[in-house]
Assembly symmetry: C2
Amino acid sequence: MKKLKEVGRPLVRVDAHDKVTGQAMYTDDLCPKPCLDAKILHATIGNGRVKSIDTSEALKVPGVVAVFTCFDAPKFTYPVAGHPWYADSRAEKRDKADRRLLDDRVRMYGDNIAVVVGDDTVACDRGLRRIKVEYEEYPVIYDPKESLANTEHPVHDECPDNLVAHSLAVTPEDKLAEYGYKTVDDALHDPNYKYYHIEAESAEQSQVHIETCVSYCYEEAGKIVCVSSTQIPHICRRIIGQALGIPWGNVRVIKPYIGGGFGTKQDIHYEPLNAWVCQQLGGRCVRMEISREELFYATSGRQPKSFDIEASVGSDMKLRARKIIGYSNTGAYVHHGHALVLNSVNSFRWLYHTCEVATHSEAFTVYTNGPHTGAMRAYGVPEGNWAAECLMSDIAYDNGWDGVEFRLKNAITDDFVDEFTPNGVIAAHTCDLPKCVEKGKEYIHWDELKKKYANETGPIRHGVGVAFFVYKTAVAPFALETSSAQITLLQDGSFQLQMGATEIGQGADTVFSQIAAEALGVRTEQIHVTSRQDTDVTPYDPGAYASRQTYVSGSACKKAGLVLRKKILDFAKRIYPNSQGELDLVDDKIYDCVGNVVCKLPTLALEAYYNTESNDQLSAHETVNIHTNALCMGCTFADITVDMPLAKVTVNHIINVQDNGTLINPKTCEQQVHGGMAQSIGYGLFEEVEIDPKTGRVRNNSLLDYKIPTTMDVPDLKADFVQNYEPTAPYGNKAVGETPIISAASAIRDAILDATGVKFYHEPMTPQRLFEGFKKEGLI
Amino acid sequence: MKKLKEVGRPLVRVDAHDKVTGQAMYTDDLCPKPCLDAKILHATIGNGRVKSIDTSEALKVPGVVAVFTCFDAPKFTYPVAGHPWYADSRAEKRDKADRRLLDDRVRMYGDNIAVVVGDDTVACDRGLRRIKVEYEEYPVIYDPKESLANTEHPVHDECPDNLVAHSLAVTPEDKLAEYGYKTVDDALHDPNYKYYHIEAESAEQSQVHIETCVSYCYEEAGKIVCVSSTQIPHICRRIIGQALGIPWGNVRVIKPYIGGGFGTKQDIHYEPLNAWVCQQLGGRCVRMEISREELFYATSGRQPKSFDIEASVGSDMKLRARKIIGYSNTGAYVHHGHALVLNSVNSFRWLYHTCEVATHSEAFTVYTNGPHTGAMRAYGVPEGNWAAECLMSDIAYDNGWDGVEFRLKNAITDDFVDEFTPNGVIAAHTCDLPKCVEKGKEYIHWDELKKKYANETGPIRHGVGVAFFVYKTAVAPFALETSSAQITLLQDGSFQLQMGATEIGQGADTVFSQIAAEALGVRTEQIHVTSRQDTDVTPYDPGAYASRQTYVSGSACKKAGLVLRKKILDFAKRIYPNSQGELDLVDDKIYDCVGNVVCKLPTLALEAYYNTESNDQLSAHETVNIHTNALCMGCTFADITVDMPLAKVTVNHIINVQDNGTLINPKTCEQQVHGGMAQSIGYGLFEEVEIDPKTGRVRNNSLLDYKIPTTMDVPDLKADFVQNYEPTAPYGNKAVGETPIISAASAIRDAILDATGVKFYHEPMTPQRLFEGFKKEGLI
């Protein structure tokens, strides 16, 4: 293999300067002011129907320009999730369309029932307070299992049993028969193996990106233009078109830099409503900013889930059989639907599936009157990992086994192929998990600390914990994976790279620049990247989610680079026909086959633009369709202190060691891991969107009441990697953006068990839950 | 030939709605405010040197942020004209680089010597007034012939004789010998023919576009971004790079809708200065608007010229020989250089070159201390036409010949090939001038009015006049002609068209949409056009000038359309492999070879985006290099009333009839002709930038003092066409944007001669000149 030159360079991010100096422009910076503002009226009941809305007093408020209610809005239904669409021939794969711009059927507390437009947000807020709504109320059901039984007021009439989806993957009977079993239950209850059963639960986590959801819309050239802080501009175009019932080509979406998304902005929450309001006002510019408080209930947090898990394990530490049943509470709208809990139960299966002979993974996604939930970083996997690692920890603890040894015995290896996905696409082509574990153990001083902390007594105790994870890269074979990229040679011999894939703070622009440079044979410094997507001119890509971009969009970037490289060399041969043999492009020069410089690239670029006889503006626009996937894996090791009377856990040291294949940019990868680990610590210890089950109302919709980790709560976050070359990837790379959020919470749970012997099953392990747990066990 | 379906549709302009409703955004609308403003300090001497500048008082003005002088600015020289660049191998074809951002050598009144940056323009103006400049003064020379003789203080040290360029095209001796002549002069003075000699002069005309020159600059992603009201964004990128000494790829130029240009904005006047100022201020946004008053001296109007013409003509009305010597006053800077006067003398040769056996065309472009001049609509040809038609009118009048008959006898025909341009590129492949003349005569009632007005006496008289014109299309073979275009199939089966060519109010976006639709086989309504150019993502095109876009850029558009059409049909065959025979795309459907519908285009578009196995975002990016040219031609007929005591000319009826080949859009063509005719009436009767020859200062730099025609000054402007199919064009079309400004002034001059018998040689024929002329002849 040719030695990689640009891939692997720990370059400073290409957007670093602008972001540090404040020169970077975000949606609200770009919004031309003054413009109109729009604010939403959210329902104040959790289930029912709007009987009437009186807007007369609101319209009298100075500065209020218009009020639109659920009785005015069109009734087109549309899906909101950032997923590929499908051609008519595959219509069954399309997302469920269950949202309307505004709806008189109130399905959750905070549902959107009207919108006030005013000269500023103060006028809007005043207007909102003067709207009088008359409701018909139904009982609120928040528990998914209870919701399944309720058929009196289904959340959506189209789904009378409230079951969005159900899936089941069970070891086939013939395979079970080989081991003398008829059913998976037989294998679970085989008397030669020890049987385990736990129930685990995970709460809704909020993404808490710095920049709230904001968009502004206006009409131009016969189109609705929507500038939005979104992860998925091309999908946003489609969804606005669907919601407004207009051709998608009549919508144009522009995506500037965004201040984080973590999945919130993988849904198209309010862009269609804003676009429609703008349309009603003759195309005047309308800005719609969702407040921090609204974000907690009016956009989608991580789905809360519950899991029922059984397992049987042999005295040789080998799992014999496992069964998981997951329940996902999607709330009042489907958004990402069943994919999330599928990710939970699939990753459960993949991580420790090596030895077992029987498996049963089953999942339900259920409508309730809770707030709609959706995508968040690692998309269902942290929830599944929490449940799976609870089980692994318990088994190791109960048997007095070393948790690392027990896990390694069952963990995924590089010959793993998932039997339940078609064509073996979900498989570990590369797997350096054991090396990761080695590094993690060493850093955390696993063996020493295990011994040192073994016999502690008293109120303050210490523990070390471990958790493994596995994560797929992108969404094939479950959904379409495609991306387009365009690269153009500029007049000075530099290159302009246009990606449909989006920079959302994760460093995408930087790694794409490196991939383009690698493919072209030039230096990354020669690449200019167009960061802002504009669906009218930007190549198509569904956007930033599923850790797909460096793998899928990176493939498009590489393909375009290679095609353009060939065009450049062919053109050079045309201009310099007497040059010797096959030509080569290295950095800023063209060489002949014996290594002589034929010309400098800037010189050739001038010929490409200005050669009088046969110029040609050299550009490559390429699409890829990716049918592969690449599993990546890793582990977290944590060293903690538990102050039981204070119900306080302090993380002293923590490390993530990951096999993400080849790192395109080690520096940006490390940054990703730092962020993910901090969010996972928050997930394990603090972060919970608390919902009143009686009303479906979010109790803590502010950053005063919803606790995220600060620098006071996290130690130095250590990131390390074991690199290898993933054969299906553009340059050996695998997913990295989401992986670090998966296992830190589970490792901390394992460390608490190590320190105190107390088993927690409900995350986050808030002081309240810790206190109750320690109290129940008589430790305080 | 396949019947044209979209070409020829008189569609309403695609930008009409936005421009009529005020939704269209121009540069200043887009500028984020508040921002910094910059204003230029112009020299108050006409020739000399800045000895010192004292900015101390200016810097004390509240709101003044910075002052930069000619002693601060870098000394890179750069050219400013909107012309293609050339690769190193053709460096001799590049424009002369004689401008600097700010210069202590003052070459003209109003030269740029400093710039004040402030929080607003008021602060800037106050600052400007407080700057003290000490000059060393040299004598001002405005007359070109005088300037050629002056070598004491050459305008540019690099050009000691002030002669920018000289060119000469003379019938070769062997050809002259065939007719028994040794020289052209022999043919002119052949006693068998009548000899004529005139001197004609034309003044500087100002473009008077509605939107003044304005730009704003800021830094983003390591680039200087310049948003500017320019006709030539890609050239602007290059020139800013040259002026600042930075790589061209580090410059990004964005061109919104512009409110007219007419050639002013084919120069890059102030964008580099603004970019440099922005750079000095850490990339803060700086706006620079050139005031209406500044436009008259600090940007480039139409070059004033003088011509010396001789001719000999036989009694059979056939010209025997002609000679033209043109002098062009380029002012203090070269800008468009020699190309303008070359256009004058070339068009002189082409229009009536059919019969003559000897020709001499010679031209000089000279530096003076006048304001720099440059491109204006029809680029040198109205000046040459004025001179040529003065001669033709005089000959017909003096001989009592019918002006139409005399002209037709000598006028260009469809077998014309210019012997002085390489490879016969300048040629009339199509020529329907006689039919144009027929239509014009009929409309104006030529024969009837000639008779009716023949014997008028008294102070108020009437006349009819005629003038012909010829004009080339684009700039081949004199310079590189290239363009790129990109078309992408959108998700809904509509298309996004991206042109590097610019909409400058002329309707380019509309005709490109029609051309793209024609090539694709769809309806124009299915095409979305990206009007705003952004050099980072827009295909390369030098821009709007020389009536080149519909011909050259239209060819790129057609090529991209045909390539994309093929990609679509190939993709359709892949998706529907069982479809019968070769497929066809008509409007929004794909047909098989027997006319059955295979699928709708929107359905296929969804497959192109979302087919799980083999999607492909279909897009075509194509470049053309055009080596042909196409002469177009036409005539103006005018019916006027002359009130001699009032020195007032009233145009009663006027018609332009043109052979512009096939009209892509008859409605927009008609609009072009209306505008051009009005501007030509202004050129003939009112418009003159008056320059004080002693100081080089413009005397009338305001719209109070510089008179342009209003609706009170023009009658209903009649436009008519004779259509044919130009074989070298994308769809039979030839130049149209500039042609209508050429001949109306000349026709009015002919009509005045018809009415009064007075010969005017200096345009415009202002009341002052008319009065002097009538008085001299004893008519008043």
